[in-house]
Symmetry: C2
Subunit: 315 residues, 2 copies
């Protein structure tokens, strides 16, 4: 069976992690990649070491678009600041007539709402996009769809994550996105912060960011899947420790509902503490990419959420 | 949107529970049902009270087959003793040309292997069968497919269930199926036991049955989904308390693997203690029925396992 050829947009923490995970998977090879300054193509595979050898370019996305016949799927690992950035990039691929598939690990409800508008263009191109395929949304909200099956009425879904990173430099964009959720901060304010300003903020809280009621697309994707009727039934929050690799809490999805026998109860999905954010985002993203290719093979086109399908394990 | 019309084969614990769950769901109605002695059809819906009003018949399955244009899907809630019973019943429907969908809550690996042979006939009829859609296999093995996404290598999957039933009379066939897993017992031996012999066995262990390394189709369905290479990587066992409604242990699926960073870890999916076996079997079975109808609508036919798809929540 042919390997799944992937283009990765973005070479930050997630993009680099995608290279490392793909290097360990037989069914997957990354053949194209870009960041804000350059791009790379290799028919054989792009190894993590190749990141230094990007070809400079003023329009790296445009270069990847020129290569659109050379890959089967795109993993959109770009930082989505501002909210319209990733949708605008995807629109360029749609306009170019790209007929392959896409997955992303977009997190914000408002971003996913923008993505959903791309459905007609994707259908015209006989293309498939599965959005929100990281950890949350992604793995954890898909687990909520399974958990919901036991119940008649769903009361709420709560996702409480724990992340430990030994230093925040490796995930600059991700940390800024999280800061954007703090009271008093916005997406644009966080984007403009210098590294020193971020460091200063983190110093005030012993390196920990505790976030409640984050704007997270688990809500809209669970609504789309018919699990909840209103977005406020889903809450996402957590604790990021930017100074230790160990998680401060175990990442847990809890779905509460009432069964046909009138019993109120909760199912829980708990991630192992030793599993990193990268493993829990890239793994599902690749599994959903394989599912997206399955959908295209079966002539099912358009924009979908990770809550609508089961990913297919990639070896 | 039209309600999903269902025929239920079997009126034991699972069949009756299906009526009760369907009564609380707007999208579902049970229009046909049979047991070993009779059958019932009602275009409006069959309520739990209607069980007393079955029409006697020497071939209840044959009567349901005559009604095959009147329902969209079949829930096979028959006791599968012997192992070939359910496959033989499904073959009758296939031979009749029934073009709808099916789900079941079959549990044994050997039974699912027999079911898989029915794929060609189902495809010819443009029919869809999703097998093993209960709790285990079903909800818990589907959770294992999600959990697997974070890992490069899967070490093993363990399912340890806890069931409490206030008295075993309501689940006679299920308890006998569990006894069949005990050392020294077989499927045929368990089928032949009288109620008194079952009671006597249960008295020796304070009403508790503790089962290890059960023959459970979670193994073959997880292999089919590419999660494990060999069946012995999956183990299913548990504790049934036949004298108390409360679960003796919390039902837990644990998947252990190694991530791309070389970290060994386990994800867990834990069912709420207040959720009964019925809720955790019938809920998923109806969700997978809705998925089966989706597959048929998209011209994807044949025999599948619950590990291959995400159920669709039914309201």
């Amino acid at each position: 069976m042919e390997k799944m050829r992937i283009a990765v947009l973005g070479a930050g923490g997630l993009g680099k992690a995608c290279l490392e995970v793909a290097a360990k998977k037989k069914e997957v090879k990354v053949v194209a990649m870009c960041d804000s300054n350059g791009f790379l193509y290799s028919e054989k595979t792009i190894r993590p070491e190749a990141l230094k050898r990007f070809n400079p370019s003023r329009d790296p996305i445009g270069e990847i678009i020129k290569l659109k016949e050379k890959f089967d799927g795109i993993f959109v690992a770009l930082p989505n600041l501002p909210n319209e950035f990733i949708p605008s990039v995807v629109k360029r691929f749609i306009t170019s007539g790209y007929g392959g598939v896409y997955t992303c690990a977009l997190k914000r409800t408002s971003a996913i709402k923008l993505m959903m508008k791309l459905d007609p263009g994707l259908k015209r191109n006989k293309s498939v996009y599965i959005a929100g395929c990281g950890a949350t949304p992604g793995l954890l909200s898909a687990a909520a769809v399974l958990a919901a099956q036991s119940f008649i009425d769903i009361e709420d879904v709560n996702i409480w994550w724990g992340v430990g990173i030994s230093n925040w430099d490796a995930y600059r964009a991700t940390v800024r996105e999280d800061i954007a959720h703090l009271p008093g901060y916005t997406v644009s304010k966080a984007k403009k912060m210098t590294d020193e300003e971020v460091e200063s903020l983190l110093n005030k809280t012993d390196g920990r960011l505790k976030l409640h009621k984050m704007e997270h697309a688990d809500d809209i994707l669970l609504k789309k899947a018919g699990i909840v009727d209103s977005l406020d039934r889903v809450s996402v929050g957590g604790v990021m420790d930017t100074r230790h690799a160990e998680k401060p809490v175990s990442t847990t999805m809890t779905l509460t509902g009432t069964t046909f026998e009138g019993k109120r109860s909760s199912h829980r999905f708990i991630l192992g503490d030793e599993t990193s954010m990268a493993a829990n985002v890239i793994g599902p993203a690749l599994g959903y990419m394989k599912r997206a290719l399955w959908l295209k093979q079966h002539k099912i086109y358009g924009m979908f959420g990770s809550t609508e399908f089961m990913p297919i394990f990639t070896r």
